[in-house]
Subunit: 480 residues, 2 copies
């Protein structure tokens, strides 16, 4: 069947249905779905189900979990290939200050980007990721209306807990493994262009483990037990804050860059030949100055001249990062207290073949061994394992061919530094995985989050982004 | 002239004028004087001046400084002895939650203490220290009304910046040194009884230096320079938070109990014979269990069995205490950031013969030497030097005799752990110094701060507290 799919008809439908497609995007965006605050979640799940049906999907079901519902659907395709599309319908909260337009108004506004003028919708979730979800459903709608079906069979899975660390997704996937495993690959749609128009393609993501270490006088049995006391008592009473500092000091050296926890590096695999090829290729292309400018960083950890080592550090480096630390009096002036506790938040980025579930035991064992067994180590959110798909995988090749067909030559990274729950599909279901798309959106987790609807010479419009998705499905149908 | 002063007449006047005295206390308390917020300061200074005149003082002057005014006054006495009474008329803010009665209402309420029922005035400053200031003025008023003058010449100095670290007081004292140095000793009135009725007497106070250490990517030239970036970048970007942890780790060992800064202990004098006698005496009397209970501490830093070492640690121990530490994300959940800076607040308690102005240079030199010269060390408030008066000083002996005359046998401490600006009088003007009184007040810096007006069998009433002050002046007139 491959090669016969009439994409051009679908593209014409995308163009004709433009205003309907924009309306669908706005409809989904305007439905609140803040999982951290539990605002609008059930309503949004129902809406996603209705949209599945509206664009021609079958077997639509809002599936209950221990947490927020998962919205399942299927769509018969024009080939024997099956793609599992993963979405999240939940968003971050949207009540922070700084919104220039209502966070739930889905207003279409003029905007000036590095690449020129565009028209964009401003709304929470426009970028992360109800915008791309709606765009993908628009693409499916156009396929169904133009040709009766999309190029491949589709399984749609939308979860509502991504911003909570996807706690219910692994159990759901394990339970429904048989049905979901029919897929040949998994796809996460997003708008992949930077402000200036360039695309990067990531073959995987790192894993992440996140925990809090708390040193309290109560558990220690020394120092103030219940509240901060007058600091004159430091002369004869111990300090839990100093104890946390001492304990942290045993965990790394070289300002955190070398981790001293026994076994921490043991599971890390050396870079594969494929990865080393990619790293060497990246070393010649990567805009290190651009990264530094975006992050407002003057110097990388390693000398920048050796690009290969730098990129190896980024892609193969595990980390023990202090996200936050606090204890005692932290406001203006000179309140004199001996605090009863201190806490820090730490995240660990995981690379192949580290195991998320291995991190906390190693940290606890280290503290125990160094005499800090009373310091608590508590997981915060569930974290994710890493995931990886070879650049040779058909689904990745289909994605890269689509990029090239649309005039893009993305830089290819073995992994992104970010953490998303793709391991659920990649490592539990053993599906090759890809993510990508064109179009532009930005400011996730920030005020004035937006997605471009009318692009410019460098940035694709929403209609182009939807056509890209159709072409990708078609490429995937053909690629084996 | 000594020995001729008729205290009994004054006492009768105190009793007769009781309601007028309580009214004066309430009047002073109800005038806001929050120095940190600059609320009511000038009005309170004017009121203190009016009260000076009202109780019979002369040469009253509200003296301008670089900061808040100092209120000066004199009162001719019945002997050739002169006492400088030091007061503070400013208070902490009073807008915190938790007040059961209006913080500026000076309401007289029934209260149950460990020692039984009392009537007390609830108001910000009742304990710290506009209550004792008004009580002392009441005592002077009664002396003047009953006998035409108090037992000794008085010089009154009230400052309005104590809660800011008394920044203007040293310059004022140096400028007015000639006039102030006429005093034979300095006295700070307060209500010295604990809830159960017992008194402690302190022969000095420790000094304090307070500073903030800030490690920022900007000054370091490494790590994020301007804002927290996504923590995935820890793999190739340095961490200012880990750097602060490392730097702190070089400054102490043993959970902060042993300071590793070169020269930190150099100026500390060994305990004098007098102090060792006091410490041995205290070792037999001190209620260590009571201290632990009040502070909710299970174990002291040192084994409690060796009371002498424990008390030597408290009285002769210098400290490097972390009052607070903060950096990055400190709220709920798992935000993943690589922070661009981290900060801690540290206070150092100073004992003879350490110098406050020596502390910051030692810390800076230490950081410099260990390669952390970019970490800033910034003084917060001005701090104080330590002060000490021998137990043999006539003004101390007068105070101890007064305690005994009122049925109290206070435990005598070489120093309190607290920090107050007494060094200004003790070390700049070289005046022997004492503080004390009976009566009870509590909850400084907290909601529901109070002072007892009607006492019980253990706690003196306001009238008794005022009589004590008269007796102390009389004892001081006689004691040489």
């Amino acid at each position: 069947m491959s090669g016969e799919y009439d994409c051009e008809r679908v593209f014409r439908k995308v163009d004709r249905d433009k205003s309907r497609h924009v309306a669908r995007v706005r409809r989904l965006l305007k439905q609140p779905s803040s999982s951290q605050e539990d605002i609008g979640i059930d309503e949004c799940a129902e809406l996603v189900g209705r949209l599945y049906r509206e664009v021609g999907c079958e077997k639509v079901k809002v599936v209950g979990t221990k947490g927020n519902p998962i919205v399942y659907g299927e769509c018969k395709g024009d080939s024997d290939r099956t793609l599992l599309a993963y979405f999240m319908y939940d968003t971050m909260p949207f009540n922070e200050p700084g919104w220039k337009h209502p966070a739930m108004g889905a207003k279409l506004v003029d905007m000036r980007l590095a690449s020129g003028k565009v028209k964009a919708i401003v709304n929470r979730g426009a970028d992360n990721t109800k915008g791309p979800l709606a765009a993908f459903l628009n693409a499916v709608d156009a396929c169904n209306r133009a040709n009766g079906r999309p190029p491949v069979n589709l399984i749609l899975v939308a979860e509502g807990e991504e911003e909570l660390g996807s706690p219910s997704l692994p159990a759901y996937v394990r339970k429904d493994r048989k049905r979901l495993s029919k897929a040949d690959a998994c796809y996460f749609p997003f708008f992949g262009q930077e402000q200036a128009g360039a695309c990067s393609h990531f073959l995987g993501v790192k894993g992440v483990a996140y925990f809090e270490m708390n040193c309290s006088g109560k558990r220690w049995g020394r120092g103030p037990q219940e509240f901060a006391i007058h600091s004159s008592n430091k002369a004869w009473v111990d300090s839990p804050v100093w104890r946390l500092v001492d304990a942290l000091g045993t965990m790394t050296t070289d300002c955190g860059n070398r981790i001293l926890i026994d076994g921490f590096y043991d599971d890390i695999a050396p870079p594969s030949e494929e990865d080393m090829d990619l790293i060497r290729d990246l070393a010649g292309k990567v805009d290190a100055a651009g990264f530094k400018k975006t992050m407002r960083v003057k110097e990388f950890m390693l000398p920048e001249e050796n690009r290969e080592d730098l990129l190896k550090a980024y892609t193969y480096g595990t980390t023990l990062n202090i996200d936050g630390i606090w204890g005692g009096y932290t406001e203006k002036g000179s309140k004199t207290v001996l605090p009863h506790e201190a806490t820090c938040k730490i995240d660990v980025r995981l690379v192949p073949n580290q195991k998320k579930r291995g991190v906390l035991p190693l940290v606890k064992k280290h503290l125990q061994r160094h005499g800090y067994g009373d310091i608590s180590v508590k997981e915060v959110d569930t974290g994710y394992d890493w995931c990886r798909t070879s650049v040779e995988a058909p689904v990745v090749q289909a994605m890269l061919r689509t990029y090239r067909a649309y005039g893009h030559d993305p830089t290819i990274w073995p992994t992104s530094g970010g953490a998303v729950p793709f391991y659920v599909f990649n490592r539990i279901l053993k599906l090759p995985f890809t993510m990508g798309g064109i179009g532009h959106s930005a400011l996730p987790h920030s005020p004035n989050e937006y997605m471009v609807v009318e692009g410019n010479r460098k940035i694709a419009s929403l209609t182009e982004a939807e056509k890209f998705m159709v072409s990708f499905l078609d490429e995937f149908a053909q690629q084996r």
